[in-house]
């Protein structure tokens, strides 16, 4: 540690070169941070402590098939089920059919299944008492400048009303806030309306629900409860498939894209290039300091000490660039999340990404420094000083 000053001075001996190399390293780690955030976002989707207590029951046939609402009372009777709510996909869009909104027609107790969503008691009550009421996530509200008390038009791309009109009108009565910002980006995008109002108003639903959400009393019993729920409809024309929320989400994400493969291919290309680039810089740096290194050895630095110093220099180079790159990634990802409102699964740069990143910096730094360090170690004082 006491040689830090010396290593630092060696690193910035040629300022232009070091700074140019640093920018390349920053770019590489910026990309690493962003891609790893997407990967983690996909991996972690649906993985939360409360999510593990929730079961999703949908039609076994397919996710677009609906289930009879009568199942609600039966599921509630299954031992181990604390409470059950249900929802239907509404397919809402605001102003333009392209502005799709995650809108669900939900049972009155739907929010009770999601203790991680915050709604003020007054607003919750207002929702209960307003037939055409809607609760909207805070990011969604901010995006379209909605506020409590607004009456907003909404199109449904799936369900017309009795008169065939696709236009629905809702009163915004409250705002949803997710308590856990990291996992809950999705809740801030939701638009909830009453299932009862929905079912009464469209001729296409006829008392059916899209899926049930139930909470179990004991997480360890989740599998047994899931089987018991599915047993209710065995051999009927509406067989169900019950999964934990985590398993259901993971299966969706996997179908959406093989993110792991894409990310690792890109990172492979990036780090191969980086290795070559930083390796070259270090090689040059050592080559041009040959005589200085010889002087160090002459005044008593051991061969191993010289090698360690060259290695330390390359690791320091990578650490400097890498940490700056990841910091930049934090800023950029923050911007992305704010701009898309959590629309794409992108985790904030958390501890795990930092750990991955730091390990990578260390490994790349050692690899990059290995050859020049060996060269420095094997340096023969007499030859080096003579310039041979």
């Amino acid at each position: 540690m006491k040689y830090l000053h010396l290593i630092w001075a060696a690193l910035f001996r040629r300022k232009t070169r070091t700074i140019l190399t640093l920018v390349s390293i920053i770019a590489a780690f910026l990309l690493f941070g962003m891609l790893d955030a997407v990967r983690t976002g996909f991996d972690d989707a649906g993985k939360s402590a409360i999510g593990a207590q929730r079961l999703q029951t949908g039609s076994k046939l397919s996710f677009i098939q609906t289930l009879p609402q009568a199942l609600d009372a039966q599921i509630a009777q299954v031992p181990g089920v604390k409470s059950v709510g249900y929802a239907n996909w509404f397919g809402g869009a605001y102003q333009d059919p392209h502005n799709q909104v995650f809108s669900f027609a939900v049972s009155d107790n739907y929010l009770d299944q999601y203790p991680e969503i915050d709604v003020s008691p007054d607003e919750h009550k207002a929702f209960d008492n307003t037939r055409t009421g809607a609760l909207v996530g805070e990011q969604l509200a901010a995006k379209y400048h909605w506020k409590v008390g607004d009456k907003i038009p909404m199109q449904s791309t799936i369900f017309p009303q009795q008169d065939g009109s696709k236009n629905w009108t809702f009163d915004i009565v409250g705002i949803l806030h997710s308590k856990d910002k990291k996992a809950g980006g999705f809740f801030d995008q939701m638009f909830l309306l009453h299932w009862k109002y929905f079912d009464d108003s469209t001729p296409y639903n006829r008392g059916t629900v899209g899926w049930y959400v139930s909470r179990v009393t004991d997480v360890n019993q989740a599998d047994r409860v899931a089987k018991a729920i599915d047993a209710l409809s065995n051999n009927s024309d509406h067989e169900t498939r019950t999964q934990t929320e985590a398993a259901a989400t993971a299966s969706w994400m996997k179908q959406l894209a093989d993110v792991g493969l894409i990310v690792s291919s890109i990172m492979g290309a990036v780090f191969f290039t980086l290795l070559l680039l930083a390796g070259n810089t270090m090689m040059q740096a050592v080559r041009e300091r040959t005589s200085e290194l010889a002087v160090l050895k002459t005044i008593g630095f051991s061969s191993h000490a010289v090698m360690a110093m060259v290695l330390a220099e390359s690791v320091l180079l990578l650490l400097l660039g890498g940490v700056l790159g990841l910091l930049l990634a934090v800023v950029v990802i923050g911007g992305f999340r704010a701009a898309t409102g959590g629309g794409i699964p992108m985790a904030p740069v958390g501890a795990d990404i930092w750990v991955h990143g730091l390990l990578l910096m260390l490994v790349v730094g050692l690899l990059v420094g290995a050859l020049p360090a060996l060269r420095a170690m094997r340096l023969n004082i007499v030859d080096a000083l003579a310039g041979r």
Binding site: T16, R17, L20, T21, V23, S24, I25, A27, A28, L30, L31, M34, L35, S59, K60, L61, S62, F63, I64, Q65, G91, A93, P97, H98, Q100, Q155, S156, T157, I158, P160, G164, K166, Y204, N235, S236, D237, H238, E239, R241, A247, S251, W252, Q255, L256, A257, D258, S265, I266, A269, V270, F272, T273, L274, L276, L277, N280, T281, M283, Q284
Partner: protein
């Protein structure tokens, strides 16, 4: 039309580039300074071998950028092409008004009988209108290579006999077609690769029912990712009664589309939207194509910044190592311009090499590579192949040259500005 607009800036860019190359060649041949530039470039290029490691940084760095960029753009291109190939200008799709996609549309029995009566629909040999009422739903099936519980969603299309007349590109390639009224399925070629148990002769479970797979079809487009069965039986399984999702018709003449559309949309008994299938499928692919493109360009840009600074580094070093040589040239009367041109040309040559290498790698590794995603507007996994087109390779080369240009410019300027006396004294 839209495509031409998108292409035009690139075409202009290419034309300007070509013009520049021609002008440069003429200048090098005809003027004194040009000949000087040519000889300095020749010296630079011939000594490249001595700077192999450094030069490799430029080539490999740019190859990485171009490879990743081209691969990601090929993904977006493959996706777009698969969907747009599915449609044609002489077939039209009729759905309930305000439905974003087939699977969200419901047409009642009355509409389904009314639509084929409209004018402008082609007729088959027996004089019946070529109109195919279809039902589009999804089915959960086990994923190939996954655990028993690993289920994915596949789009299931219930069709009648006219489906084949509407889509002549669909061919049975194994087994036979389903028998109307039976619980039999045929699977698209893409679907058989994604899901387990879709080989002819196998049985699969849809909910509580057993269906037999009797054949495999190929169409070379998005339909390849679907499975088909008899519309009536599918409607039964999914409790849809006499309703259908859409009616696809073959127009007697693409020109008649407007009349056909107006007739249906103004009919007070119907509440439908009419689109040509090419428009419908292009619209479906738009969002995802744009997203993949945006990701490709973002990743490409960040990588390009990294490679650009790598190139700068290399060329600064190259100029520094040749400082004496350059100063000597200037001392014996060479002007600054030939030196600038020579350094720039050398960088761009390396960049070109990197661009070609990267494009070639992307083509070798990813052309025809099959990927899949949950497509917008459908309810099943859509498999598609990455398409590395000549146009994309050209885009890659343009990126490479741009990086090379900027990466060479500053070192070149420094080389030209180097005061002759100090440079000669140094080293």
């Amino acid at each position: 039309m839209l495509n031409q607009l998108k292409d035009s800036p690139m075409l202009q860019f290419s034309a300007v580039l070509l013009l520049l190359v021609v002008l440069l060649a003429l200048w090098m041949l005809l003027s004194r300074q040009g000949r000087q530039a040519a000889s300095v470039t020749a010296v630079g290029v011939s000594t490249l071998r001595q700077r192999l490691g450094m030069s490799a940084v430029v080539v490999v760095g740019i190859a990485g950028v171009v490879g990743v960029l081209v691969a990601l753009l090929a993904m977006s291109e493959g996706y777009r092409e698969t969907l747009s190939k599915t449609g044609s200008a002489d077939t039209a799709i009729v759905m309930r008004g305000a439905s974003a996609s087939e699977v969200m549309s419901v047409l009642d029995r009355a509409s389904v009988t009314l639509i084929p009566e409209a004018a402008g629909i082609a007729q088959d040999a027996k004089g019946r209108p070529i109109a195919s009422p279809e039902l589009v739903v999804a089915a959960n099936l086990p994923i190939k290579g996954g655990s028993a519980d690993d289920e994915g969603s596949v789009q299931l299309r219930g069709v009648g006999e006219q489906a084949w007349a509407v889509r002549p590109q669909v061919k049975i390639i194994a087994g036979r077609t389903f028998t109307p009224g039976m619980r039999e399925l045929i699977a698209g070629k893409g679907a058989t690769k994604q899901f387990a148990g879709l080989e002819p002769g196998h049985q699969i479970r849809l909910g509580s029912q057993l269906w037999t797979v009797v054949g495999v079809f190929a169409s070379g487009d998005a339909l390849d990712s679907e499975i088909w069965g008899d519309a009536g039986v599918v409607a039964d399984t999914y409790r849809r009664g006499g309703s259908r999702a859409s009616v696809t018709v073959r127009l007697s003449d693409p020109q008649k589309f407007e009349a056909f559309k107006t007739a249906l949309e103004s009919n007070p008994q119907l509440k439908v939207d009419v689109d040509t299938t090419i428009d419908y499928f292009s619209k479906q692919s738009e969002g995802t194509t744009q997203t993949i493109r945006a990701i490709g360009i973002t990743v490409g840009l960040i990588m390009a910044i990294g490679a650009l600074f790598g190139a700068l580094n290399t060329m600064f070093a190259a100029v520094a190592s040749r400082a004496r040589e350059i100063a000597t040239l200037r001392a014996i009367g060479f002007r600054g311009l030939p030196v600038v041109v020579a350094v720039m040309l050398e960088t761009m040559l390396l960049a070109l090499l990197g661009g070609v290498l990267g494009g070639l790698l992307a083509w070798l590794l990813f052309n025809g590579y099959s990927a899949s995603t949950l497509a917008a507007g459908t309810v099943g996994k859509l498999s598609f192949e990455l398409k590395v087109t000549v146009k994309l390779l050209w885009v890659g080369v343009l990126w490479a040259l741009t990086i090379g240009f900027i990466g060479g410019l500053f070192p070149a300027l420094r080389a030209a500005r180097l005061p002759v006396t100090t440079a000669l004294r140094e080293l």
